[in-house]
């Protein structure tokens, strides 16, 4: 049984080897960009619009709402990064339903890459918003003695991000593969449904945690310097906030 699609080399051109992870990632990218291009080339500003445009507008609006609710800031700068995280992971996870295709998120290399992107995005957004020194100063809070622990926290949560997504998706794929050999009928369908739910939830969790990390990089400064600013969504959903807080608190103890 193939544990990771990284080892499944599909195309080899000289020294360049294209494994299944990269190829499926390109396929996901192609599908997403193609759908986006097809839908957005004829956008309507009237009350009447196509169903696909309506779907994309709902998707984008909800992502903006979630980002605004979590960050208490205008969602504009964060939407491309966080939204792409969610859309890519969701689409990749849904590939789990197609027999014979291993989603790229079942590869630790992919989840690690995404986690590293988040790891890098946190200081980039923080420095862009608060400035270099102000961003670095938060590692000394509440006391300089906490610097090592803050650094460990940064690394551990990045690793946790990667491992959580990888573990959930890979485990689902492996479990379905094992069950296909043991109980080939009916039961794998239930596991596929479970995998579907898990894939959606994991995509949401990954994106939200990324947003929480990015927002926390400037939240410390905001508490002392700036009131929360949300241009697009000034009213915060308290229920969503609580659920996000819970997710944040449970990040150190991911399920699965």
């Amino acid at each position: 049984m193939t544990i990771t699609p990284d080892n499944n080399v599909l195309i080899k051109i000289g020294v360049v080897e294209l494994n299944a992870t990269i190829v499926t990632t390109w396929a996901v990218m192609a599908v997403l960009v193609m759908v986006a291009w097809l839908v957005t080339r004829r956008l309507s500003t009237q009350a009447q619009m196509s169903r696909w445009q309506n779907l994309l507008e709902v998707l984008v609006a909800k992502m903006r709402d979630q980002i605004a609710a979590v960050s208490q800031q205008a969602p504009g700068p964060y939407l491309p990064f966080v939204g792409t995280l969610f859309v890519f992971i969701l689409t990749a996870n849904l590939l789990n339903l197609i027999p014979g295709i291993t989603p790229p998120t079942a590869s630790l290399s992919t989840t690690t890459a995404l986690a590293l992107c988040v790891f890098m995005a946190v200081p980039i957004f923080g420095i862009a918003r608060e400035g270099f020194l102000a961003y670095l100063r938060q590692y000394l809070r509440p006391t300089p003695l906490m610097l090592p622990f803050n650094l460990i926290g940064e690394l551990s949560r990045t690793i946790a991000l990667a491992v959580r997504l990888y573990g959930n998706i890979m485990s689902g794929t492996v479990i379905v593969g094992i069950l296909l050999s043991l109980v080939p009928f009916f039961f794998p369908v239930l596991m596929q449904l479970l995998g579907l739910i898990t894939g959606v939830i994991q995509a949401y969790i990954f994106a939200i945690l990324a947003m929480v990390y990015i927002a926390s990089a400037s939240a410390t400064q905001n508490v002392h310097a700036h009131p929360p600013q949300t241009q697009d969504q000034p009213v915060q959903d308290s229920h969503q906030s609580e659920s996000i807080q819970d997710t944040h608190q449970s990040e150190s103890n991911p399920h699965g």
């Binding site: 544990i3 990771t4 990284d6 494994n19 992870t21 990269i22 990632t25 390109w26 990218m29 997403l32 960009v33 986006a36 291009w37 957005t40 956008l43 309507s44 500003t45 009237q46 445009q53 994309l56 507008e57 984008v60 609006a61 903006r64 939407l79 491309p80 990064f81 939204g83 792409t84 995280l85 859309v87 890519f88 790229p104 590869s107 630790l108 290399s109 992919t110 690690t112 890459a113 995404l114 590293l116 992107c117």
Partner: protein, 257 residues
């Protein structure tokens, strides 16, 4: 559970490329469309509010115009009522004046009729009184009364006893004629009475008169001396006629305004 770092780098690059592509083809167009729609809705709402405001102002203007029209209508109605009241009052006054004039005219006519009737009644009463008196005098005329009438007539023929100068001059003018004198009476005079009259005339004329005696019952109680178409008389009828003339004169004077 191994990590292929080449794949990691490739996936990171793929992800960043996907971020750019989705930002280019998904987020930016969709957000722009949503913003345009929101702006469009906002513009339409503002336009609707402006129209509503304009409609409210227009409605207010119409209400003001209606109120002004209503005010003018009330003023016109009030003026028309006042004019109608004035016309009615004027017509009533004219009618009252006409009625008053006609009433005065009617009263005047009634008064005239009343006076005419009174005059006619008075005249009729006098005529009746005169006729009755004449009749009574004629019926009661006996010898003594005839003697008294002769004596009264003879007395009136005397020039020194006449108080009425007009009657006296009329008698002189009558006696101056040389024509024969005629004594007219309603009864036949006896000889003594004729003598008395002849003597009286002779005393006045200074010679014996050419005297004749005639009986005329229409004369009534009294005597008349006639000569050459002129007559001097003393009779009850003559008094009554004189009285009648005086009454006519008084009535005519009273009836004139």
């Amino acid at each position: 559970m191994s990590i292929d770092w080449v794949t990691v780098i490739a996936q990171a690059a793929n992800f960043l490329i996907l971020v750019y592509l989705l930002k280019r083809f998904l987020y930016a167009p969709v957000i722009a469309a949503m913003d345009r729609r929101e702006q469009r809705i906002k513009d339409r709402l503002e336009s609707a509010q402006q129209r509503e405001q304009a409609a409210d102002e227009q409605a207010q203007s119409h209400e003001n115009a209606l109120a002004q029209i209503e005010s003018e209508r009330q003023a016109h109605e009030r003026a028309a009522r006042e004019q109608a009241e004035q016309t009615r009052q004027r017509l009533i006054d004219e009618a009252r004046e006409q009625v008053s004039a006609r009433r005065a005219q009617w009263r005047e006519a009634l008064q005239q009729d009343k006076q005419s009737l009174q005059q006619a009644l008075r005249r009729e009463a006098l005529d009746s009184v005169i006729a009755v008196s004449d009749r009574l005098l004629a019926d009661l005329a006996d010898a003594n009364l005839q003697d008294a009438v002769v004596q009264r007539f003879a007395h009136s023929l005397k020039s020194d006893t006449h108080t009425d100068t007009e009657a006296n001059s009329q008698l002189d003018e009558l006696l101056a004629t040389d024509a024969s004198l005629q004594v007219i009476s309603s009864f036949s005079l006896n000889e003594q009475q004729q003598t008395c009259l002849s003597t009286t005339l002779e005393n006045r004329l200074g010679h014996a008169p050419n005297l004749a005696f005639k009986v005329d019952a229409s004369l009534g109680l009294g005597l008349a001396l006639e000569a050459n178409g002129q007559r001097v008389s003393w009779s009850a009828r003559g008094f009554f006629e004189s009285l009648d003339k005086r009454i006519d004169t008084v009535i005519n004077e009273a009836s004139q305004p």
